[in-house]
């Protein structure tokens, strides 16, 4: 996609400059031309090999479903054979399949760099972010399905509403009654405290954790790892103050809150941002116990 074949006119103009340049420059230009020729040769050989060898393609089995299109109302798997290049991700392969073979193949994606959180899917039996999953790390055929435990809208697109509702159920915004005086005065926060909440702020709302959680699958009201982690981010932030911390722990201690977690670590295992979700939930349980003791 991005590798530009050396441009012919470019080479020519550089070459004419080289005539007046010092000898070292000439040698470099010579080397450059040589390398370009070699690269072109390699490319041609590679292409020829790719054309010959079946092994240069990856076999994808992709889940398909559309509630209104004949033949897709019953879920099925479609096979795609995608030419492989080094560094190709699952997202690259899906985009290739869509742009080349079937423009109705539908999936969410945007940033391609693991920050927008759109493309979490169930790849070879595990929740993964497609844009940061290398094809070369996967067994063939690569089976791509929508996130489990969520309603499928179409193909690989799931309904995220329930996930968003849970995220928004924990008062997911900073609250304090104690802002510093003076228009341009910031609140102070220690480096240690910032470090403590850092990992929890990395969440990209991809939903992989929620989809992997057995408890969330069985209890629709369970807040789930992502929402609890969001609450952790504020509960542990020293800028909010003790009263607010107490208030947050009350939210988290509700029937479908932290105590539901059975520390199976599945959320932690699938988190593409390496957030220690289970540890955060455990820590909140301890905080809740501590604060309950305090009030006895």
């Amino acid at each position: 996609m991005s590798t530009q074949v050396p441009d012919q006119t470019d080479d020519e103009s550089s070459a004419s400059e080289a005539e007046t340049a010092p000898a070292a420059q000439q040698r470099r230009m010579e080397k450059k031309r040589q390398r370009a020729a070699e690269a072109e040769e390699t490319r041609q050989t590679e292409e020829a090999e790719a054309a010959l060898a079946e092994t240069e393609t990856y076999h994808l089995k992709v889940f398909r479903y559309d509630p209104e299109i004949e033949g897709k109302k019953e879920p099925r798997f479609d096979d795609f054979h995608v030419p492989y290049h080094k560094g190709m991700t699952v997202l690259d392969a899906l985009m290739y399949a869509r742009d080349t073979y079937d423009s109705s193949l539908t999936f969410r994606h945007s940033c391609r760099q693991a920050i927008c959180g759109s493309d979490a899917m169930f790849v070879n039996g595990r929740q993964r972010l497609c844009c940061k999953t290398q094809l070369s790390d996967l067994e063939e055929p690569v089976r791509i399905e929508p996130l489990p435990h969520q309603e499928v809208v179409k193909d690989l697109v799931v309904d995220m509403e329930h996930f968003y509702d849970q995220m928004e159920a924990v008062e997911p915004y900073f609250q304090t009654n104690d802002l510093p005086e003076g228009e341009l005065e910031e609140q102070r926060q220690s480096r240690e405290n910032r470090e403590k909440v850092k990992m929890s702020t990395r969440c990209i709302w991809c939903g992989a954790c929620m989809s992997s959680c057995n408890i969330a699958a069985g209890d629709n009201q369970y807040l789930g790892p992502a929402a609890i982690n969001k609450a952790y981010r504020f509960t542990m932030d020293e800028r909010e103050g003790e009263d607010m911390k107490q208030h947050r722990l009350e939210i988290l201690e509700q029937e479908h809150g932290v105590w539901r977690c059975q520390t199976q670590f599945s959320c932690t295992n699938v988190c593409p941002k390496d957030i220690p979700l289970t540890e955060h939930i455990q820590e909140l349980k301890r905080e809740a116990v501590k604060s309950n003791l305090k009030f006895w």
Binding site: Q4, A39, S104, A114, V153, Y173, R202
Partner: protein, 615 residues
């Protein structure tokens, strides 16, 4: 029909900030966005937010650096507004709980960035945009602001007077991606476009797949001029295989660029003898490609960015995200080896022409963020100046649309101020191809002359036209696939309208764009489903990409000088005599019209005299 006081299109940094500001002003505001807010590309910003917060720094210095960085093509009223409002906006973010990196004394950290005379870039690791986006979305949830997420805006509802300056905007037409329903959205007080950049015009870009310049294209076809589109920023440090961004923060913290011979070329070849790696982005990007073209690149493609000497502790503390990006997208362990980097499309300095309150020449239509051009960045944006632009001008557009008096704007919009006609010779006719499948429906506001419609009527009419367009695209089931057309445009733009530009290449790009327009006449949508039809959406986005590619190329062809990010082989000098002016392009019902307006160098209490720009 839905109805609100203010409608914001797009939910990145500028859109969220605009919505919050409008609500604080008492407006009933709603956001319509093709993505859920947290998916917006603001989240990918890494480096930081420039704000003069500390003793020894001042908004005047920030303004001066920005004007110099713009190569004297920014407008002083916009630049000074940015520099004045940024500190307050940054502290506001801190008060909303944003997780900034901190100093020992607990205050927010700042670091050096390219082209700055003071280390004024406030940051949160190398994930500042992510922290900013989520902090603002949290505020949206707190305030209960309504979001129509995964609704794609197909068009604006603009009245149809002859002169764009006499028109007014009454709402938008939305397409519910989940259901395929089309609805009008009436905006009683204003529509704010915050739709981001046009990175997908190029194939090697740091931008998201969603960055297709929709808002700019819609406004353009409704009569609002596009300003300074030729100025595209190529970021000097993107990963060669994917275009993923490696933050300028790496160089800010002391990262060094080496060529294939291990030379620190920024100094050794005199590209920037004072500031070296921390010269302005345009300077560094050209230096890298010059090295590669002189045969001193690595694999004839890229150079090395080395940060190993900073030490693991400092890297993890301030640049941890970079380690993940280099590992995941280039397979490089940046603690052990240098990272390969090359220039990639990153940012559009130009966009929808606005004043410093975010308002366009069409009454009730605003734009803020990367889609807008006030102009803050002129011909080159400084690192760390995009995020403050989002929050400063997002807030201003939001509160102004909701009725707050921000004083009369000094920047004239449309042909209200001084202007001169422009002309450029092109190898093919730019603009609409006749008969265009969409000519009646794509937002040509003057299609049927004075209609005497009321505001609801304009929204209804726009919705009807958008419906016709969607039906026409779906009916052409066996038409051309948009993906090919898009790829052709992207490749031509990367080849011909890149860092180094020459006349023949620009002309070739115009021919390719014309060919894409011809091909687009027969574009169709194979997916016949109304449910989550991304085939349809991408087909519509592709049309926007074509319009923007043409505007960028026309601007590049007409501007016969070298200024900021715009380098021309045939014109190697900045020409203040003839080119101290903005390029504007009006759609003019399908026959694009080029014109110019002067740059405003007169600041609040001084004039910014153009000087030779050296780093």
């Amino acid at each position: 029909m839905y109805e609100h006081d203010v409608i914001v299109v797009g939910a990145g940094g500028a859109g969220l900030r605009a919505a919050i500001a409008a609500q604080e002003e008492g407006a009933d505001v709603a956001i319509v966005s093709k993505l859920h807010p947290v998916r917006s590309h603001t989240g990918a910003a890494e480096g930081g937010i420039n704000a003069a917060l500390r003793e020894g720094d001042s908004w005047q210095d920030h303004a001066y650096d920005t004007m110099k960085g713009s190569d004297y093509l920014g407008d002083a009223p916009a630049i000074e507004t940015l520099a004045q409002d940024s500190p307050e906006e940054v502290i506001q973010l801190e008060h909303w709980g944003m997780a900034f990196s901190r100093e020992e004394d607990g205050r927010v950290s700042q670091r050096p960035f390219g082209g700055l005379s003071f280390p004024r870039t406030t940051y949160a690791g190398a994930e500042t945009g992510h922290q900013l986006l989520h902090t603002m979305y949290e505020q949206l949830v707190k305030r209960g602001i309504e979001v129509y997420d995964e609704w794609y805006v197909l068009d604006l509802a603009v009245s149809d007077e002859d002169a764009p300056e006499d028109r007014s905007c009454h709402g938008v037409v939305g397409y519910d991606i989940q259901s395929g329903n089309i609805e009008g959205f009436r905006a009683r007080d204003g529509v704010i476009l915050a739709t981001g950049g046009p990175g997908q015009v190029y194939d090697h870009t740091t931008n998201a797949v969603s960055n297709t310049g929709d808002g700019v294209a819609m406004a353009y076809r409704a009569g609002v001029p596009m300003e300074d589109m030729e100025f595209i920023q190529f970021h000097p440090t993107t990963l060669p295989s994917t275009g993923v961004l490696i933050s300028e923060g790496v160089r800010g913290e002391g990262g060094i660029l080496y060529n294939g011979e291990g030379e620190r070329f920024m100094f050794e070849y005199g590209y920037a003898s004072n500031d070296g790696e921390l010269a302005s982005r345009d300077v560094v990007a050209r230096a890298e490609l010059s090295e590669v073209n002189a045969g001193r690149g690595i694999e004839d493609e890229y150079v090395h960015l080395d940060m190993r000497h900073l030490g693991e502790e400092r890297i993890i503390d301030r640049l941890e995200n970079i380690l993940h990006l280099a590992e995941d997208f280039e397979g490089v362990d940046a603690l052990e080896e240098p990272m390969p980097v090359k220039p990639g499309q990153h940012y559009a300095m130009g966009g929808i022409e606005t004043d410093e309150n975010g308002e366009t020449c069409v009454a009730g239509l605003y734009a803020a963020g990367e889609c807008a051009c006030a102009s803050v960045h002129g011909s080159n944006r400084l690192g760390g100046n995009a995020l403050p632009e989002l929050i400063v001008f997002g807030a201003r557009a939001g509160s102004h649309a909701a009725g707050r008096d921000l004083g009369e704007a000094e920047i004239p919009t449309g042909k209200r101020g001084e202007w001169e006609a422009g002309d450029v010779e092109t190898p093919v006719e730019p603009g609409a191809v006749e008969p265009e499948v969409e000519a009646d429906t794509s937002g040509d506001a003057v299609a049927d002359g004075g209609s005497g419609l009321d505001p609801d009527g304009f929204v209804e009419r726009a919705a009807e036209r958008a419906t016709e367009r969607v039906e026409a695209l779906l009916a052409n089931e066996d038409g051309r696939n948009h993906a090919e057309i898009r790829a052709d445009v992207q490749q031509s733009m990367t080849e011909n309208v890149n860092v180094f530009r020459e006349k023949a290449g620009l002309e070739q790009a115009l021919r390719d764009i014309r060919a894409a327009r011809e091909a687009y006449r027969d574009v169709g949508v194979a997916d016949q489903s109304r449910t989550f039809n991304t085939d349809l959406l991408q087909t519509i986005e592709t049309r926007n990409i074509i319009d923007l590619a043409e505007a960028i190329t026309l601007g590049a062809l007409v501007r016969k000088e070298f200024r900021g990010a715009h380098w021309r082989k045939e014109h190697q000098e900045r020409d203040d005599e003839n080119w101290l002016k903005h390029t504007l392009l009006s759609w003019n019902d399908g026959s694009p019209e080029l014109w110019f307006k002067p740059v405003l160098l007169e600041g609040e209490d001084k004039r910014y005299e153009p000087k030779i720009r050296s780093y």
